[in-house]
């Protein structure tokens, strides 16, 4: 009986809804964001391709179908990034293809050993391949160097989709691949990602890179929750994926608006946004609050669920708490530099376009509000009942974290010199992303000699050698 390509299950509907919300908001936002008509038209078309591939990936039943649709979404994203920045897009594609090859190798192994269905966990010996392949997608530490570069330079709606959903596909792969007992390596990786991402975000000079690193840290939360291996853990991971997707989408939209009004992404060029863009500032405050997990916002509910899932692993949840402080610092920084401070000269963008962009952010808020006000709804949908979200201890804890973040930011503001020096050293060492893609591109170009006969020669020669090797 040929098993069906697609299967609908509870834990897949929520991500699909998230994808739908993000794509709808991005569509509205994209209309206002792109200046040239062709860019807008290209973005519209590619958005639909992305949505098609994502829905296919989410509801896929076997690993191969999942792989195919994930790769289609990668290509769609590559083209979307290439609308404005071709070199970064090429780098992104090459890195993702490397990851995909590991992932495909894993799938091949899995299908040989049986268990190619997405529902059945992957045999243990293949887990490293899956982790490597999906890790590139989900930006695990060590494989994350492309994330800030790509998210930082991609157009705002595209990076919203990228960190809102595309990165999460890797997490879904983990959820399907991990056996249902805690996976120590991923737990550690998740915690490390959360801490590293949060504090690197705080040091970034550029709004989008800040958001990119904070995506990495939130991913750490999700990976840690997924690695918990319990039913609650999976539910927490998916719930936080949804919340983070929507919130990060809003934040990237807001970064796009700032970029359009002030013409630059750098904090040095930003300032006085509250006066110039009152609506955007209000939406930013809501998004930032939700990401910090202040009570009443969906972030609070999802982070609470994650703490619930990581009940047994106290060191991990402590790291996540510290990471939360780092996130608080970075968002206070973004708020203060971008929206507060001295008023820089904003360029007048057409009122209609601003309304469109704000409309995009507003749509996401509409999806976020029910998640925040009825925190129990999503976990119950995912099969986890009876979680007490609102207890005095939890509220106090989250508020104290926000307070600590504010104090830390105030201290950092007094002497910024120390942070900038630290930042520069880390940056050079960490991501020599561009040099990797340059060398890769140059090698590929040199191999393509353009001699049609050369390609034929290579093909025939390799086929012969393979045949001889196999038939010896």
């Amino acid at each position: 009986m040929t098993e069906p390509f697609f299967v609908v299950a509870a834990e897949r509907v929520l991500p699909a809804l998230l994808a739908g919300a993000l794509v709808a908001a991005a569509a509205v936002y994209g209309e206002g964001y792109f200046d040239a008509v062709e860019e807008r038209r290209a973005f519209r078309a590619l958005l639909r391709v992305f949505f098609f591939s994502v829905i296919g990936a989410v509801f896929s039943s076997s690993w191969l179908v999942f792989f195919v649709f994930v790769e289609i979404s990668t290509v769609a994203l590559f083209l979307m990034i290439a609308i404005q920045r071709r070199d970064v897009a090429e780098g992104y594609l090459q890195i993702q293809l490397v990851g995909a090859s590991f992932f495909l190798a894993g799938i091949a192994g899995a299908s040989i050993m049986g268990g190619a269905l997405l529902s059945s966990p992957v045999p243990r010996v293949l887990l490293p391949l899956f982790i490597l392949g999906l890790g590139v997608k989900a930006a695990l530490p060590g494989l994350h160097f492309w994330l800030p570069e790509v998210h930082g330079t991609a157009p705002a709606p595209v990076s919203a989709l990228l960190s809102g959903f595309a990165v999460k596909l890797g997490v879904f792969g983990f959820l399907a691949a991990l056996p249902s007992e805690p996976h120590s390596f991923l737990l550690a990786a998740g915690a490390f990602m959360a801490l590293w991402g949060a504090f690197r975000a705080a040091l970034q000079p550029d709004v989008k890179r800040l958001l990119a690193y904070s995506t990495m840290s939130q991913l750490g939360y999700i990976v840690a929750a997924a690695a918990a291996g319990s039913q609650v853990g999976t539910a927490a991971a998916i719930f936080h994926t949804a919340v983070h997707g929507l919130v990060k989408g809003m934040l990237f939209f807001c970064a796009g608006i700032l970029e359009k009004t002030y013409g630059t992404k750098k904090f040095s060029g930003l300032g006085g946004g509250a006066a110039a863009l009152p609506w955007t500032f209000f939406l930013f405050v809501f998004a930032a609050a939700s990401l910090l997990g202040l009570p009443g916002t969906p972030g609070f509910a999802s982070k609470g669920l994650i703490k619930e899932a990581l009940h047994g692993f106290s060191p991990i949840s402590l790291c996540l708490l510290a990471a939360n402080v780092g996130t608080a610092v970075s968002f206070f920084k973004m708020g203060a530099f971008a929206f507060g401070g001295v008023q820089k000269s904003p360029r007048k963008i057409l009122q209609g376009r601003l309304r469109l962009m704000n409309g995009g952010m507003l749509m996401l808020v509409v999806f976020l509000l029910p998640l925040g006000l009825f925190p129990g709804w999503a976990p119950s949908f995912l099969g986890v009942e009876g979680i007490r979200f609102y207890s005095f201890a939890k509220c106090a804890e989250s508020l104290s974290v926000a307070l600590a973040g504010a104090l830390l930011f105030a201290a950092y503001r007094k002497k910024p010199g120390f942070a900038d020096a630290l930042l520069r050293r880390i940056d050079e060492a960490g991501s020599c992303f561009s040099c990797v893609s340059e060398r890769g591109g140059a090698f590929v170009r040199s191999v393509q000699s353009g001699f049609l006969r050369g390609y034929l020669f290579a093909a025939v020669a390799t086929a012969l050698l393979l045949m001889l090797w196999f038939s010896r």
């Binding site: 170009r445 393509q448 353009g450 001699f451 049609l452 006969r453 034929l456």
Partner: protein
Amino acid sequence: MAVMSFLTVSLLFALGLFTVLSRRNVFKTVIGLTLMESAVLLLLISWAYIPGGSAPILPLQGKGVDPLPHAFTLTAIVIGACDIALAFAFIMKLNRFERSVNVDDFRRLKG
């Protein structure tokens, strides 16, 4: 007898491959392709021959030769002719653009 046919087939095919690989002129590539195709035809027909068999036209004198490869070869020849006709059309069009028949000059699609 069969060994001789197989030897000719492999030599003919290798000759076609050699032409396509080494010659720069596009017409020579077409010649190479034709040689390769005729090598395949020869293989099919020589493989279909049964010693002592007669042509597959009823009433058979003695046992008939295997008619199935003949049908395939017939189709192959006709389709091969269509390919080559299309190849010539491409060559004429390419020549109109590139003013040369040197296969290494057609590099517009190079990455």
